[in-house]
Amino acid sequence: MINKIVQSMAEAMAGIRDGAVVLIGGFGSIGQPNALIDGLIEQGAKDLTVVANNAGVGRVGLARLMELGRVRKIVCSYPRTTDPVVFEALYRDGKIELEVMPQGTMAERMRAAGAGIPAFYTPTSVGTLLAKGKELREFSGRHYVLEQAFHGDVALIEAWEADRWGNLTYKSSARNFNPVMATAAKLTIAQAQHIVALGELDPERVHTAGIFVDRVVHVPYGEPTVT
């Protein structure tokens, strides 16, 4: 019997190694798997490369992981959020590496990774600093930049409902990066507000098929807060 639902956070985090590339879902705090981030803090892996849209808020979650010195590099599109106190200090002191990517390029590089596409050309960033050193090519008179697939070792994602096969649904705009990241990592771990019996999810409404998901943890935390 396939059962991807794990009973403890320790079980969910087992095997994440030092130096791992960790994809973390969410746009700001919405759709961000906070319980899994806390689990990763507890688990202890260090020297991580974290890929997330933002670079943490306040001193909790991702910011806490960075403050503990566990993140070597952050890849994101928008570090300048409401209250990036921890990231700002680390960045200023040269204690963390930052790679900024256009948001759509970031999403597409992970989509490509999950879909077996090694690289693609995009019009985004042509003529800007973010295209520096990248191959340019012209198609039908327009210029494009070559971008490569971006694979993760681990993806931490947040879902709304899950079953034991790892089929997932998301809620409203909390979907964001989660489905794409789920496809792009070797080990995908989801936290879900609701666990339902196999067959209970309407197959027409499954957003992420269980094939992309390795472990599910039940985290019925209620309503998120916007940060």
Binding site: S77, E88, G104, A107, V126, R175, V180, T225, V226
Partner: protein, 228 residues
Amino acid sequence: MTVKAKPSRLAAGKPAWKPWTREEIAARAARDIPEGFYVNLGIGIPVLVANYVPPEREVVIQSENGVLGMGPEPAPAEINRWLINASKKYVSLVPGGSYMHHADSFGLIRGGHLDLCVLGAFQVAANGDFANWSKSETDMPSVGGAMDLAVGAKSVWLLMDHTTKDGESKLMRRCTYPLTAIGAAKRVYTNLAVLDVAGDGFAVREMAPGLTFEALQDVTDAPLRTAN
């Protein structure tokens, strides 16, 4: 290169014109959005545009975080805590609205499906180059979705102040800040004027009440002409 507004004109008592407020800039741009347009609104003044699209005009607003058919800020009792916009504020979904994941959202953006994208900017140049993500090569860069939107939407309008707080022109012959995209901007709505990007300068369509063409040119680095 930047030019300072001549203090003689600005410091000699009250100027003879009244700049538009942020809300007025947003309302002015909203007036020009046709029925049926699919539009993305960036953070800053652009998000205010949604408040001024006349209710009888159907304009579909997209938010980069996977929302198509974004509605206004909900009443406190109506808030869906999983529904935010690109500025991470609570919004609503209009009837007919839908959600999608990030790769689809940016596929939609890059794929030329948006009629219009309205963004804020630090600088815009006469050739349509603009800068809105970083003020120097050492500044903490935060690009978000701006570069994707700039190359993907069929048209790009910029909503911005005409000058910096120190009076330096933001409408330039050439941008001095790192670019967001080359040649992408089509129209600019500032607190002083509505202008079309014209290649060698800007074509002035409208000016704030009381402002003269000469006074506008005085605070603008790029050459101006009147629009036909």
